[in-house]
């Protein structure tokens, strides 16, 4: 029971570091069991160190660095135990243009295992998608769907 949990934990931890290094192009990240004595009840802390920077309290990371770290952890969990599909609502909102491209490139490599449906405002995410659906409200308060080919944009 404890052995099984520690094995799983080790795997998520390794995957988290791998995905983090790929998204951030370096650095390192990991998970820490708060209470090493009582592993089955222990809380889990997160450490993240962007490339070249010193390891500091997670609170000091920027808005975009925090979002990207959270995304790395989500992808690490999905790598270990993929869900059939994943609905992501504007999770890349805090990323700059360059990081949005790293994000969508990573998703493309993933999308053979998992179907991704993303709500987005970001050009990079739209360009990396296979299909675009546009939601419009020509009549106030009533939503309609427009199926769009790549190259068109709505809103």
């Amino acid at each position: 029971m404890k052995k099984q949990f520690l094995e799983q934990f080790k795997l998520i931890n390794e995957n988290f570091n791998i995905v983090f290094r790929e998204l951030f192009n370096g650095g390192r990240a990991g998970l820490i069991l708060v209470d090493q004595e009582n592993v089955l009840e222990s809380g889990i802390d997160i450490e993240a160190q962007p490339p070249g920077k010193k390891l500091q309290n997670m609170l000091l990371l920027s808005g975009g660095e925090r979002a990207f770290t959270a995304i790395a952890l989500l992808f690490a969990i999905l790598r270990l135990k993929p869900t059939p599909f994943c609905i992501l609502d504007e999770i890349e909102a805090a990323l700059d243009e360059a990081n949005v491209y790293r994000f969508i490139e990573y998703i493309k490599n993933f999308s053979c295992k998992t179907q991704f449906i993303m709500v987005t405002h970001r050009k990079g995410t739209m360009e990396g998608s296979d299909t675009l659906y546009g939601v419009t409200m020509q009549e106030h308060g009533v939503s309609k769907i427009v199926s769009m080919k790549m190259g068109e944009k709505v809103g």
Partner: protein
């Protein structure tokens, strides 16, 4: 398994019947603020069994029924159907295609169906157990919620890990 199709009518701002077909690749949903994009994510959560009104951004379950506009009357019920491709038999049911339907009326009465056969919410929850796409899964990340993986107390975060283990 993948999501093939979403049908909705009367769910939040989707007053008229709409149908979304999905392929197995990457789909982006785009549009102006307030147009209804996140409502689509809510519809998917809801039909998969979400019971928390807070997660659906409401204060009561009735909030998911189209409430009307300045020029349209409110509707009496909301209905969402999700069709899943089950050719790999991820779902413990002998169909290649599985359609889950949920309906709620203003009275509070709810109806549930699997492939058009009436069932209980419990049957849907059990069908989705261990697939990761039930309401306790991590397959839907809501708007503004990605930071929570980092900022929830380390004890709460454990829940996601146990889901994934």
């Amino acid at each position: 398994m993948y999501l093939k199709r979403l049908d909705m009518q009367g769910f939040k701002s989707f007053a008229e019947k709409i149908c979304l077909d999905f392929n197995s690749g990457i789909t982006s949903v785009v549009g102006p603020n307030g147009s209804g994009k996140s409502n689509i994510a809510d519809a998917i959560r809801w039909v998969l069994g979400e019971q928390s009104v807070k997660t659906l951004r409401g204060s009561k379950m009735e909030d998911v029924i189209f409430a009307g506009t300045e020029h349209r009357k409110p509707l009496g019920f909301a209905e969402v159907s999700i069709t899943l491709d089950n050719s790999d038999s991820s779902l413990p049911i002998a169909y290649d295609e599985v359609t889950i339907t949920r309906r709620v009326f203003r009275s509070g009465e709810s109806e549930y169906m699997i492939n058009k056969a009436p069932c209980r919410l419990k049957d849907i929850t059990e069908l989705l157990l261990d697939t990761g796409i039930g309401r306790d899964g991590y397959s839907v990340i809501g708007q503004g919620r990605v930071d929570e993986i980092l900022s929830t107390r380390s004890e709460d975060r454990r829940h996601i890990f146990e889901e994934a283990s």
